[in-house]
Amino acid sequence: MRNSSADGGLLLYIILLTLLVLVSVSALLIGFTPLPVGDTLAALFGIGDDEKIQLIVQEIRLPRTLMGLLVGASLGMAGAALQGLLRNPLADPGVIGISSSAGLGAVIAIYYGYAASFYLAVPSFAMAGALAAIVLLYVLSRRDTSVLTLILVGVGINALSGALISLSMSLAPNPFSLADMVLWLLGSLANRSYTDVSLALPFILIGVVLMASSDRSLRALSLGEDVAATLGVNLMRTRLLIVLGSALAVGASVAVSGTIGFIGLVTPHLIRPFVKYDPARLLIPSALAGAVLITFADIMVRLLPTDREMKLGVLTALVGTPFFLYLVIKTRRNTR
């Protein structure tokens, strides 16, 4: 009985890692241009003799797949960590206003035409937007140990960024920049290069480590803030780790992929029954599952027979919402 939880955990990891390998390989094999499987795998390791295939696999599909894994892991873990910290199953990276302020940064870069003049303008501005939101969040909620203040300030920042995004759109200098803003906000992994990957990677890594280091405090927080404090949890430190960690990881993800909804909200709900609802053991499996889900969704947008490739954020929201409603109804029934 004692060790059954550990064994169950191991099985979950084996399943998630297997899925991760499967979707990653599929993502490399499936694309706009059909390629032979053998040549594709050879090209991946640089041993093929067709330079065109090598170019497609190494310069287009591989960075896109890596990007998907990183973004998915960030969103999945940030969702799990924030739901644990705020003890609210509806929390997601959007709730503290990070996604929308990163979006605002990107929209500003497009509005002023910086996007056209240098390649990294959009992701850099988006990172700056996310960082500005963290500073604002910290300054406005640092005096209060209650997470309710944190949620309310986050909702405020979210609304403000949303309003400023709308303002930029309504004042857009021309229809092309308006279209750019809208399409960018919808979220996509198409045409991402190693430059994008290397821009986001350090922030995502730091963010993930910060979030993962708060796991034990999250478990104690199941008993509420007062009791967690008497058990030796440093509430302010835990909050700082999770808010800063999720802001770095999600800010960097939004910076390179736009806003991709519902992965952060849904993934923890999907995993929770397999870790016995333990918010501490939820973090890493949620990161793995988020990576699997995004990569899978990104394969789907390539396979769907639409004229132009459907935006990834649109697909995750379309599929994610009904699935989320199903989960809500099902778990409500079970726990009542």
Binding site: A229, T230, G232
Partner: protein, 254 residues
């Protein structure tokens, strides 16, 4: 003898003074009850002892140790706290909740030790929850849940147990079973400080009583003499009679 001592403790919530120069001594081996009308400052008193609330004045000692001098995880080894209406935010199983009681002993990155395991087992046993250890808390009845939460407290093996109204919403059977667990803790030398609303239970089952009103100690001493009709009238504005078995029956509002 080592005991829990509050010396002239004052606490404010925001600008409002809630406790005013409260002094209290709770001895190991005794069941100490804190009574008083709603808003008298009972819960604030317990939260002040845990160190969650800062003191405006005064000091709290465990023996010669001033509690406010300790790091938070050290305080947890001396003082364990169970709030009123404890909510568990996720349907964790009983065992993982009880294990949380050992958190103050946990070294960074270390696993739980054999000592921790033993404390968890003992706590489950004392509260009669061993058979429920792998059940999710959401599937327990109110009485079972109360005992599981009590087991979390006991697992800490702290010297002082602070328990805020553990009997509310329990049927008489579970009230008795919780009281028996508390009594056993006291017998083992723990210092048990409990807020209880039921004056009959407070008078009949507890050794020492502190009667609070408006943030001050009105009376203190042996529960039987403190909870007298006169003192209760003064604190609660009600007329009561002592029944044959030593319980308290409310007669009328004054």
């Amino acid at each position: 003898m080592t005991s829990l001592r509050l010396e002239n403790v004052s606490v404010s919530l925001g600008q409002d003074p809630v406790l005013n120069t409260v002094s209290l001594e709770a001895k190991p081996g005794e069941l100490t009850v804190i009574c008083g009308p709603n808003g008298a400052g009972k819960s604030t008193l317990l939260r002040a002892i845990t160190g969650i609330l800062p003191l405006r004045a005064g000091a709290i000692y465990w023996g010669d140790t001033k509690l406010s001098d300790l790091a938070t995880h050290e305080t947890g080894k001396h003082v364990a706290y169970l709030p009123q209406g404890q909510v568990i935010h996720w349907p964790l199983n009983v065992e993982s909740i009880v294990r949380l009681g050992r958190r103050s002993y946990l070294q960074p990155f270390a696993k739980q030790t054999a000592e921790d395991e033993a404390a968890v087992d003992t706590a489950l046993e004392k509260t009669g929850m061993t058979a429920f250890r792998s059940r999710p808390i959401s599937q327990l009845s109110g009485g079972e849940c109360a005992r599981a939460l009590l087991a979390r407290l006991l697992a800490s093996d702290a010297s002082v147990y602070l328990i805020d109204e553990p009997l509310a919403a329990l049927d008489p059977y579970y009230q008795m079973s919780v009281l028996e667990v508390l009594k056993q803790c006291a017998t083992e030398g723990k210092c048990v400080v409990t807020v209880v609303h039921d004056l009959s239970i407070a008078r009949r089952y507890f050794d020492t009583a502190y009667l609070l009103k408006d943030g001050q100690v009105l009376q203190h001493g042996p529960a039987e003499s403190v909870l007298s009709p006169d003192a209760i009238k003064q604190a609660y504005d009600i007329d009561v009679e002592i029944t044959n078995r030593g319980g308290i029956e409310t007669v009328a509002r004054t």
